[in-house]
């Protein structure tokens, strides 16, 4: 970087990039890597890799089993990671369940609810019947949509959803109408992985509480990028993934209010999650163990704990401010290129760092290929939000997503790459006519 702006002064990107070995590699014939796909998965700093390695080289054992010293150390490290995670998201330790990923977290709740009908009186509050309703939104990632479609199918409940406005905001104008006394559950994303739109949990949670519906928050795109306090938000459940917040893949988190986890029947059953086992029946452990059947992901959890330490040391508010500045620069810069349309809010209000757009006359796949040839790694396609793309009338989009290790030179590379894609595909932005892209794209 050759310029110093106030934004960069906030976060010393040059220094922290040195923690991420992968960011110094080149791609596609020597092009410096410009990584703008953290919305899909983030890169991991040495501190996280080292923590995993250190654990595996010194204390590796199966947790919550055995009484030898390694088992003790491994269990302590695993539970210590849980405690750090809990503090990070404003929860108590018993309210966090380690899962494989966020998708498993959503499925855990959905299947537990599906199991509730045969799980006794305690689980009655989770039972869904015909006539009950589940409410989602049209901007959900498939992970927070398909499990609820399936649950509705299994129980006879009806799936309903909030729409999305033309400018990419959640349409809550019919909140009271959509969430009513028959609504049993409202599942929604904190921040859209496509639009970047940040939704207001407080409003939705308040209405859900009025009618006695449970709430499930998809926090995959919010927890990695700013301060999030589940208890303060008042949601009943929330999920997020480790790999989107500098941690390993294979580890995710389900948050559930203690009282709910205590009453909820298990999803996966087997070892670790039991209290007593007889040949004909079993009783189950208290949460969170009740929901962690089998030997869990251990080094991954330790890695996630180290990622939380790394992020906390920098400060989530600083990270959020840094990303906000980059997002505004990207949205502004893209908006200035003729023929580029931002998919999502074009102002910086309640907007995170997922910046999706389309280029008239150039299919997203092709634009992504040009960007890739320049070393700029973005996501193309529907980003696991197909219904949202359908709603917006586009088959696919290009998504750049920023994180703490990105800087303004990355945004400049993105903008230059988009212009190059237009040039390569002969989209004359100065004199675009209806003939451009004829026979190709609508």
């Amino acid at each position: 970087m050759t310029t110093t702006t106030p934004n960069q002064a906030l976060l010393d990107v040059d220094t922290l990039r040195a923690d991420f070995p992968i960011l110094s590699r080149t791609v596609r014939d020597g092009k410096p890597l410009v990584y703008l796909d953290s919305g899909a998965t983030s890169q991991r700093p040495r501190q996280v890799l080292d923590a995993e390695r250190r654990f595996l080289e010194t204390s590796n054992a199966a947790v919550h089993r055995g009484a030898h010293q390694l088992a003790e150390e491994a269990t302590d490290a695993y539970e210590d990671a849980r405690a750090r995670l809990a503090a990070f998201v404003g929860a108590s330790t018993g309210e966090l369940v380690f899962t494989k990923n966020a998708t498993e977290g959503v499925n855990l709740v959905a299947y537990a609810m599906g199991n509730a009908a045969t799980a006794g009186k305690e689980a009655a509050r989770f039972v869904l019947r015909e006539g009950d309703e589940i409410v989602v939104t049209e901007m959900e990632h498939h992970a927070n949509l398909v499990p609820w479609q399936q649950l509705a199918q299994r129980t006879g409940a009806t799936l309903r959803w909030f729409g999305v406005t033309d400018d990419g905001r959640l349409d809550l104008s019919n909140l009271d109408e959509l969430v009513h006394e028959r609504t049993r559950l409202v599942a929604f994303t904190h921040q859209s992985n496509v639009l970047g739109t940040v939704n207001p949990p407080e409003r939705i949670v308040a209405r859900a509480k009025e009618v006695g519906a449970l709430t499930v928050l998809d926090a995959c795109q919010s927890v990695p990028h700013g301060s999030v306090d589940f208890t303060a938000l008042g949601v009943d459940f929330a999920v997020f993934s480790g790999h989107k917040m500098l941690a390993p893949s294979g580890i995710g988190v389900l948050y559930g209010r203690r009282e709910l986890l205590e009453a909820m029947p298990p999803f996966l059953t087997g070892g670790s999650m039991i209290e007593q086992v007889f040949m004909e029946r079993s009783t189950f452990a208290e949460p969170p163990q009740r929901f962690e059947a089998g030997v869990p992901m251990t080094s991954q959890a330790i890695g996630l704990g180290a990622a939380v330490d790394y992020l906390s040391a920098i400060g989530m508010d600083r990270i959020a401010a840094h990303e906000h500045a980059l997002t505004e620069a990207a949205v502004r810069g893209l908006g200035e290129i003729p023929g580029v349309r931002i998919v999502g809010p074009t102002d910086g209000v309640d907007r995170g760092g997922a910046i999706s757009f389309v280029v008239d006359g150039v299919h997203p796949h092709d634009a992504g290929q040009v960007l890739d040839s320049l070393g700029v790694e973005v996501r193309v396609g529907h980003h696991c939000a197909w219904p949202l793309h359908r709603r917006l009338g586009i088959p696919a989009s290009i998504r750049a997503s920023v994180y703490l290790y990105n800087d303004e030179s990355d945004i400049a590379a993105l903008l230059a790459g988009v212009r190059e894609a237009q040039r390569f595909f002969g989209v004359d932005t100065a004199a675009r006519t209806a003939s451009a892209g004829e026979g190709s794209q609508p």
């Binding site: 596609r28 014939d29 299919h363 997203p364 796949h365 092709d366 290929q369 040009v370 040839s373 193309v380 396609g381 529907h382 197909w386 793309h389 088959p395 696919a396 390569f424 595909f425 002969g426 004829e438 026979g439 190709s440 794209q441 609508p442």
Partner: protein, 149 residues
């Protein structure tokens, strides 16, 4: 430069001026194919005259590779017997799945050899094969389909 090796002029020409685009009646078999990773889709119809492919018509939306590949497909199979079309299809599929190591036969694949560069990009191979999978499926759905299997 890499980009030109993928986006040969022939491909860009077919993309900008696709051959036989549009859905036409009558037809003997139809197939809808979608690439779930990117949302590209194609609806393709086959019209047969005995065991000869009389027409291939299609509509869809997708990237330059998928659109151009479908356009090239129509050039390669229309007017040919199903047996020949199947041979051509097999050659094209082999080329695309060859990770850039298969030498294409221009006698068989004509404009299709332009896709040799695409084969080096595994993420784009599905794009190039979308229309071909639709053709294969549409043929199966015709009365002749059984005989070509």
């Amino acid at each position: 430069m890499q980009l030109e090796s993928m986006y040969q002029e022939i491909i860009l020409d077919h993309y900008k001026n696709p051959h036989r685009r549009g859905l036409r009646e009558p037809f003997d078999g139809e197939s809808f194919q979608v690439n779930p990773t990117c949302g590209d889709e194609v609806t393709l119809r086959v019209r047969l005259d005995g065991d000869t492919v009389q027409d291939v018509s299609y509509e869809g939306q997708g990237c330059s590779i998928s659109q151009a590949s479908t356009s090239v497909l129509t050039d390669l199979v229309v007017g040919h017997t199903l047996a020949d079309a199947t041979k051509t299809m097999d050659a094209f599929v082999e080329l695309m799945q060859g990770r850039g190591k298969v030498e294409p036969d221009e006698e068989v694949l004509e404009d299709g050899i332009a896709f040799a560069g695409v084969a080096k990009y595994p993420a784009r191979v599905k794009c190039a094969l979308l229309g071909w999978m639709a053709f294969k499926d549409a043929v199966v759905k015709t009365d002749q389909g059984v005989e070509t299997r």
